[in-house]
Symmetry: C2
């Protein structure tokens, strides 16, 4: 679509050098890590919330779509402007407005990088829990849009659990303020947590008050090898049922371990591995580690290595870090989904995915955040092999159906975006989707905010 000339004049005047219609800017703001791409008609780089309000009102008047974006590290196409319109980058709204150690919170603009925030917080002995693997390059605004997680979520929660308040601009161009620098509230509808994970479809977040946690003094860990996924999953349930919550609790399946061994990692033959992290004070760590080790023990345990300090823990975690690069050595194509199941159903998920891999003649590797039942199911294929590619595409819906049949859901931390929206009707029944559509209409009655995302067609 071509933008209305009056809108171009208005937004150019509003945004100055933050208004870009050149091809380079449009191309640079059209993609994300899903490898999808669509060119927006223009790019807006606002510096103030007032500019965001004026932008939304102008676009609404002309019925022009608005697609908010952070750093473009999302994996679902949520930031891809498939309906054209204006890509709104928050790269210039990247200030840390306040760090309030006594209130354990920080107030930030959406464009600040997760990693830059962590660096600033470290000086105060604090951190913000969400730790996606893209932490160095992704923005807090993107984390808010997708409800990003990471390994630490098992103890500290994902993004939604670590946001106290928001200032946001709705689809009608109204600035709303919800929540604040406090951790407990029963005062009206909780719009704060509703906006987190809404992928830019309800409002554009222009400020967030983030809940912080004190940095643990020390870390340690252990890795345990099991005969099969079922005995590892039983250990996950035991670990989650005792009072010392692990700081991370990662699962790697048999194929992950085969892959690591093939690439030279120091892991034995086993059916599954758990990586368990402990954090706390230096004095408390030995007891914490002992409690976690006791819970990890049980039927099917083959071997366990204890890393009593941070350096040893880093060595153990090297295998987990080597995994994503190793996947690329098998096949250049990868569909990485992050389904969720109840913790007790992990064995069934893993067994069913193995059966699926056999049935479709595919390599499928499962690993991820076992303490949350949030497993990354990686379907590997060669994009130049049309048949294998088709089999991978055909197996994908089966993975979602498996997770849903086990009482789980489509995504734990990546979100829905474009790539999973057609599966939303499998995850939710018609009345629930109707309620979600009604909420969408409440915030964005004209449907200008990120059309074609999250909700099914």
């Amino acid at each position: 679509m071509a933008l209305p000339a009056t809108l171009v004049v208005e937004l150019s005047a509003l945004l100055g050098d933050g208004w870009r219609i050149d091809d380079a800017a449009r191309d640079a703001h059209g993609g994300d890590d899903s490898r999808r791409h669509a060119r927006p008609d223009a790019v807006a780089l606002p510096r103030t919330r007032e500019q965001v309000v004026a932008l939304v009102r102008a676009c609404r008047a002309h019925g022009v779509p608005i697609v908010a974006r952070g750093a473009g590290t999302g994996t679902t196409g949520a930031a891809v402007p498939t309906h054209g319109g204006i890509a709104v980058s928050f790269a210039r709204m990247d200030r840390i407005l306040a760090i309030r150690p006594a209130d354990r919170c920080a107030v930030v603009e959406p464009g600040v990088l997760n990693g830059a925030l962590q660096t600033a917080l470290a000086a105060h002995g604090l951190f913000w829990p969400p730790d996606p693997s893209s932490a160095e390059s992704c923005t807090v605004g993107g984390n808010l849009a997708t409800n990003a997680g990471g390994p630490r979520a098992v103890k500290y929660g994902a993004t939604r659990d670590n946001v106290l308040g928001l200032v946001a601009v709705t689809g009608t161009g109204e600035l709303i303020r919800v929540g604040g620098a406090y951790t407990k509230a029963s005062a009206g509808y909780d719009l704060t947590h509703l906006l987190v994970g809404s992928e830019g479809t309800l409002a554009l977040i222009v400020e967030a008050t983030l809940k912080l946690a004190p940095r643990p003094q020390a870390q340690a860990g252990l890795r345990a090898f099991y005969r099969d996924a079922a005995s590892a999953a039983a250990a996950v349930s035991r670990l989650m049922a005792q009072p010392v919550v692990p700081a991370m609790l990662e699962f790697l399946d048999r194929r992950s371990l085969m892959l690591l061994r093939r690439n030279g990692s120091d892991v034995p033959e086993a059916g599954a591995m758990l990586l368990v992290e402990a954090d706390g004070s230096a004095e408390a760590l030995p007891d914490i580690l002992a409690a976690l080790g006791a819970a990890a023990e049980g039927e099917g345990l083959l071997d366990m290595d204890v890393a009593p300090d941070g350096a040893a823990r880093d060595r153990l975690w090297a295998a987990r870090r080597a995994l994503s690069p190793a996947l690329r050595t098998i096949a250049p194509g990868k569909i990485n989904e992050d389904v969720v199941v109840p913790v007790s159903r992990i064995p069934e998920l893993v067994a069913s995915v193995e059966a699926l891999a056999d049935a479709y003649g595919l390599t499928i590797v499962c690993f991820g955040h076992a303490g949350n039942g949030n497993l990354h199911v990686n379907l590997l294929y060669h994009p130049d092999d049309a048949d294998e590619t088709a089999r991978a595409q055909a197996a994908l819906p089966q993975v979602f159906d498996l997770a849903l049949a086990l009482g789980g859901t489509l995504s734990g931390e990546h979100g829905i975006g474009l790539s999973k929206r057609e599966f939303m009707a499998r995850a939710y029944d018609a009345p629930t989707l109707a309620a979600m559509r009604a909420v969408k209409h409440a915030f964005d009655p004209d449907g200008i905010l990120n059309p074609g995302k999250l909700l099914p067609p």
Copy 2:
């Protein structure tokens, strides 16, 4: 209003002996702990979610209000049917449907008592964190409606933080299902947390999947006396900034301590007291207690008692438990509000409330959940003293204005209901209230669910 005769016939047939129009039943389902009362036109006691769906659809067809209620222990009038219509009690939907230790969750109907659930969970070494003072007699449904909290919220969160999924009936009589037996999700709008704290104005909850925590093996505590509220509040900030999160962190102001001394409790003269609870494994507790004790130390500390075990801890907590009964010995009238401020602003709140007490010639006692900045401000008065009663009523809006001016909010755990709805327009600006109204309309377009509550007139 008189109920339409066809509706009476329909609901009587639907509900059988769960349909009550006698005065005794109507009177018994018209009040709550706010001492407000209004008689509903009828009382419905459904046994199944299908009955709730049919009830809402029938009421919607006739435009008849529906007011959901648990055990009537709320303090804001949220369950009082001021607009008549049908009081829906969930007393007969009180089953614990499943306890899933391996998934750390329980599935319950809304009418189960919080205390009964805790008893059932104890056998599995688990608990559900919300611990309002009415825990023995309040229902989980009421906890969900108000986002109830309690002292444990500082470590374990309030109700909203401990709910994983809901099944609910909207104002259009549609059954929706959101969330489930998993702790991490990024799959569509988060309606689960939106419904918690919505006080029966968006939907009637018919089933909840609750997040459980492992029962700590042991508990200990300490109490610390400070020169003034400012030095106690500084200690609260220190306690919250170090890695060992206290299991409870309660504050009592100078007047609370005076009152306790006058009633024979063993507390010294001091400007403020903190009660700090530690929980964990028996081996870890000494270190945890040492860390909390070190954080409690600082400028203005007068004295500290350590309770190294559960029994000693219970003795220390006796003073906190004696406080509410003691309040009644001063004056029979009490306005108990539970405002929230950022932790760092507690000293200003306490100092301003003291100034307010002086200015209005009132006794005002402050105590509560300091780790969440959630203080109970008790304005005491004699109801038969018209002038004092008027002064208490006049001082109340000032308390809310103080909390809001300090960046806080109206309520941390009681909710809004009737008693605070007129103050919502002070807490939120017009666009934010408009967004809340739009959400209300999305779930309940005809406004039949608990009209006249939560949102301002």
